[in-house]
Amino acid sequence: MIFNSFQFIIFFIAVSLTYYALNPRFRWLLLLVASCYFYMAFVPEYILILFLTIIIDYIAGIFIEKSTGSNRKLLLIISLISNIGILAIFKYYNFFTENLAAIVELVSGKTFHFKTLDEFLSFLNFSGKILLPIGLSFHTFQAMSYTIEVYRGKFPAEKHFGIYALYVMFYPQLVAGPIERPQHVLPQLKMHHSFDFENIKAGLMRMAWGFFKKVVFADRVGLMVDAAFAHQSLQSQSSSTLLMATFLYSFQIYCDFSGYCDIALGSAKVLGINLMENFQTPYSSKSIGEFWRRWHISLSSWFKDYVYFSLGGSRVGLSRTYINVMIIFLLSGFWHGNTWNFVLWGAIHGFYLIFGQIRDKYFGEIDTSGIKKYLHLLATFVLVMLAWIFFRAENLNDSLFILKKILLFDFSQPFLSAINTNELIFSFLLLAVILWKEKYFNRISTKSDVKFYLLFSCFVLVSYLFGVFQAKQFIYFQF
């Protein structure tokens, strides 16, 4: 079930009202069943995979807590391998076999073909196309953070299977995060949240803001971006079209993902549960390092806490620190998708960050006073925007073609847009409003009832009248 669907709105109303009507002792059960239904609305069968990881991690958590020394470590490794194994099979199997086949072909000079996951499973009498279970990377990472925290002794193992399952499956953040930590969410899932109209208002307002960003802005500019980046028509696109599409994509992905997070945070807030913030106005960053402290915070902090620090972080030598940074960004790229495009996207950001650290080391921290602040802001945005090309393009060749075309500034071909000039101007006006008042909209005060009803109705009406409704999934759902 996608957030920007009427089905979700009805589902949300039904679940939220039942939640408060129910005896608090049974609320976890309602949320668990609702989360199962929410997930199964995509591909019902994949709930089995999700439950498999839940069972493994639930048992692992209990045994890790009970054991000590090498046994404790062994149990953690088994749990991590199970989680990563499932992720590897569904997300990376085809990537590895394709690349292995290419290497074998290169070495032996003979064509080589490994079975794809579909072919492999059809060989075992399984029919049907294998799709990547939605949100697999998200809930796998959330599940792993639980076992790691239990292993580190920072959080006790959860004994209640239902509550643990709900921690992994809680529907607002099940398919695209934020990737939560057990110490933040699990205690909240056990608490009795009494009906608080202030929470409801704040949650609904956050949801309305998220819907607005998604359906009015992101999906609107998506019409232009999709047409410009389409592989079939790429050769006929001009520098100006591709530049405009890349510029708009930078904001499309932001409004799409942060819009999703707003809806996730808002719908959890209505239930009395606070999820972690995933964005903090990232395009107001003055350096790449700052950008990563403001963009997809839950993933960045996951990699920092569980991988970067485990590798020694910055306490090791300088070159090792740079290697660690690059490892993190390569992993982050690979986490996003199973193509070289994503790996390269991660590598570009890793390079940006290392370059920034070297610059800081030899030339001192950047001066962000006066006009320089805006220059750094612009430079950071341009670097991030150019890297998005690799994230959005359909393959590596397309990415390089787009990058080359943009950098050549070849304006001989006409500017083509799938949306008309009025809509383009409207999109820019929307963008200006979103960026200008972003901090305000993220935290609209709902203390005044009049202000709430007025603004909320306004968001709903504008989203309906100007929203682009094509049941378009959120970009991050594919991960």
Binding site: S5, F6, Q7, I10, F11, I13, A14, L17, T18, A21, Y37, M40, A41, P44, Q232, I419, N420, N422, E423, F426, Y464, L465, F466, Q470, A471
Partner: protein
Amino acid sequence: MIKKIVVGLVLVLAWFALAIGASKPLYYTLLRQNLLNENERYGDMYRFSNLPQFKQLQIGCKRPYDGVDSSKKQNVALYSIGDSFLEEWRINSNDFPYKFYKNIHWHDENIQTILDTNKTNILLLQCAERHARERFGKVPLNYKIVKSYESEPWLPRSRLQRLSDLITENWKTFKEFVFTPETADHLEHVFFSADWLLPLKESKASLTLNLFDRVNTSASLSKDKKHIFYYKDTDTALINSCYSRLEDKELDGMVANVDSTIKAYKRLGFQQVIVSIIPSKASILAPTDGVYNHLIERFETKAEGKFPIVNVYKEYTQNRANVFAINDTHWTCFGKNIWVNNTTDLIDLVLKPK
């Protein structure tokens, strides 16, 4: 107290709505009981576009053989394989002077049929122009002609296989009850198809068209904005469009496939097989909005002398303004009558002793 009652009511309504949306059987039960509005009562293109200029109440056409005693009809059994033009509420046995009429969709496969040898059995292969390249790109056999209806052959199966089949079957039923993929469409129908809500949808559609020159992705407008088409008719990225390039080689293949299909059905017992391609609305009303590929005319030229074809293209182009409904991808009663008359005329012709 009132607050509690209202909340309770909303709660019950929300769950009930969710159940209707998610459950295919429940949704269709309500439709059959007329508890839900007919979704396409103002035409399929109005349903997609919500543009008020294309809103018109759909009316049924008079059927020439309505109430005519079947004994007074010709001793012909007409079977057809068709698409949406031949859906039962558009075409049924009361449109033909034949004792028996049966239609199946191109998606139906291996439909067991016993031919009545006391009747002249005719098969009609009908498809809309937009689907011609898909349908005639292969040799399909949708009817399975049998002497008597056969049940599934009994095969020895292990206990495990039986259990697996049972689980698969029940899981499928369960999914239909709880996770139908059309949930969003069903809910949209339940909540937003009432007449009093249509002005709201129309305002949005008009605003989008006037301000941004866009319509719903399932629809497209002619250049003069006077006609509305199904997007497949005009999207040149698809083979369904009448503006998509069509090579002679592909046409030759289509004719050869139809010829093979006809021969196969004749071997199965049909005395005659006729073919009909109903033009796309865009081919008739906006042939100059793109480079029209003239599929029908070219197909008919290539098939000349090989198999009989119901020709409506010429008459449709002569009566452009009256053959297609303003609010729909399908024909008007006038357009339908042309097709029915031409079909029966062709059947009369092929049944005439040479």
